[in-house]
């Protein structure tokens, strides 16, 4: 995104040398953290509407060239918010603190999320932080960087890119006999002004999940979804987001993890790829969630593959606290 690399009008760079956008219509979509899921949903709209037959969607980020915290500050209100804002981590720390104060979620439960995701990442050759032997103690003894967030409670700054091809039904037959179908998509906003509400329980995720579940015929997400790739910028947020998505009752996200339901072998594995805690090239991050969900549906996950995936959920989460969701499936929606 422009404010991270300092390159405005970056779509102009989709020329002949990098992305094959030369002589083709190119559109830039940038919505902060949700950029990747907005890209995925725009890709779907472009093809499903009948306007294009085949399109290539690309998300990317080179956080080494700028800095996430500095760039994010420039995205907020210059008068009220920029003076004290510390990028995304400050507000995420506030949210984690409010969430744990309300429900009694413990640092151990949060640390378990990092342990789960970074050890999952060891099975993913594309992951940035692969830590097969990571322990709860290791996470809990890392430096406190913004109470209650320790260094290993938060996502890294990564460089990377992700691309997905969308094709209509006819074109799909020419490309693959094993596609992932988009069953439903939703975008939900709740943001009025930055601090009008606390929003640590991410109401937009609840709003969006109700929409996508209804369209895809999902009544019980734990039973009807086979895998979920969610956008967890911190360990604490995975617990809160799983509640918001209806995987657990409010305050029960820690229990959901403790019971092993979101583990690789659980009833609804969450983030077999290692999630955002392992890899975070921001403009690509949410598109990676969609790609990983598609990989699971297509059965191409190799060491990180969950057996017999029929239906997968992908989530994008952004700085303006909105949520985008996609449900992908082996079967077309009838």
């Amino acid at each position: 995104m422009d404010h991270f690399e300092g390159i405005n009008f970056s779509e102009m760079w989709c020329g002949i040398e990098s992305a094959p956008g030369y002589l083709k219509p190119v559109v830039k979509v940038a919505t902060g953290g949700t950029t990747g899921s907005s890209l995925a949903i725009c890709g779907y709209y472009n093809v499903a509407s009948g306007i294009y037959k085949n399109i290539l969607v690309i998300g990317w980020e080179k956080l080494n060239e700028g800095g996430a915290t500095t760039g994010i500050i420039t995205a907020f209100d210059p008068v009220w918010e920029r003076p004290s804002l510390a990028g995304a981590l400050g507000p995420l720390a506030l949210m984690a603190g409010m969430y744990s104060a309300k429900y009694g979620i413990t640092p151990e439960q949060a640390a378990k999320v990092t342990v789960k995701n970074r050890s999952n990442a060891a099975n993913n050759p594309f992951a940035h932080l692969q830590m097969p032997n990571i322990t709860i103690d290791y996470v809990m003894s890392s430096q406190m960087i913004s109470y209650p967030l320790r260094l290993h409670d938060v996502c890294p700054q990564s460089e990377g890119a992700c691309a997905i091809i969308y094709a209509n039904e006819e074109e799909t037959k020419k490309i693959t006999d094993n596609p992932a179908w988009v069953k439903s998509v939703a975008t939900s906003h709740y943001y009025t002004f930055g601090t009008d509400d606390k929003m640590y329980d991410l109401p937009t995720a609840t709003m969006a999940s109700k929409k996508v579940y209804k369209k895809a015929g999902i009544k019980d997400p734990i039973r009807d979804l086979d895998v979920a790739e969610i956008y967890e910028p911190t360990s604490w947020s995975e617990l809160a987001w799983t509640e918001a998505l209806g995987f657990a009752e409010p305050g029960q996200g820690g229990k959901l993890l403790d019971e092993g339901i979101t583990q690789m072998s659980g009833e609804l594995p969450v983030n077999p790829s290692g999630g955002v805690l392992s890899t975070n090239p921001i403009g690509a991050t949410a598109l990676v969630r969609v790609a990983e969900a598609a990989i699971q549906v297509m059965g191409r996950g190799e060491k990180r593959q969950i057996p017999d995936v029929e239906t997968a959920l992908a989530m994008g989460f952004g700085g303006s606290l909105w949520t985008e969701l996609l449900i992908l499936g082996k079967e077309k929606l009838r």
């Binding site: 690399e5 300092g6 002949i16 080179k62 060239e65 700028g66 800095g67 500095t70 210059p78 008068v79």
Partner: protein
């Protein structure tokens, strides 16, 4: 501006440090300018077009270009303008001139500064020569400007 409007304006700045990984072609182009005062282009193996600044792929043939050629330090002005309006983010104090310059031996043009701010002394077709910076800083401005010859 009226006082009433002025009261409603918050004046801020965005100051952010960046680094840009420019790629191998830009690296060679800028390094040759700074170290050896040479201007290098690349040549398309198919159509023979010489690109300055260098690009990886020929826009007309879609061929990868790997043959580096030195082009002239002198060139011809294809177009120019004189900047007289001042803004806070300009490379020089106005007035200064920009030219579209085709170097001898190159088939593409590039934009650079010309050290002549009197529009009467500039004309399309005039000849110019690169003046190199004494202390290069790994920038395109290691060619400080072009001077009329």
């Amino acid at each position: 501006m009226s006082e009433e409007i002025e009261k409603k304006i918050y004046r801020g700045r965005i100051k952010v440090p960046y680094k840009h990984t420019a790629g191998a072609y830009v690296e060679r182009f800028i390094t040759e300018i700074g170290k050896n005062n040479k201007i290098m282009g690349v040549k398309c193996p198919k159509c023979g077009k010489v690109y300055v600044p260098p690009k990886m792929i020929c826009f007309t043939c879609f061929e990868k270009m790997e043959e580096w050629v030195e082009v002239g330090k002198q060139g011809t002005v294809k177009g120019f303008t004189v900047v007289t309006h001042s803004t806070p983010v300009m490379p020089l104090e106005p007035p200064y001139a920009y030219g579209i310059i085709t170097l001898d031996g190159a088939d593409t043009d590039f934009v650079h500064l010309i050290n002549e701010s009197d529009p009467k002394k500039l004309k399309i077709g005039m000849r110019v020569e690169a003046v190199f910076k004494e202390k290069p800083r790994k920038r395109i401005l290691d060619i400080e400007y072009f001077k009329a010859i």
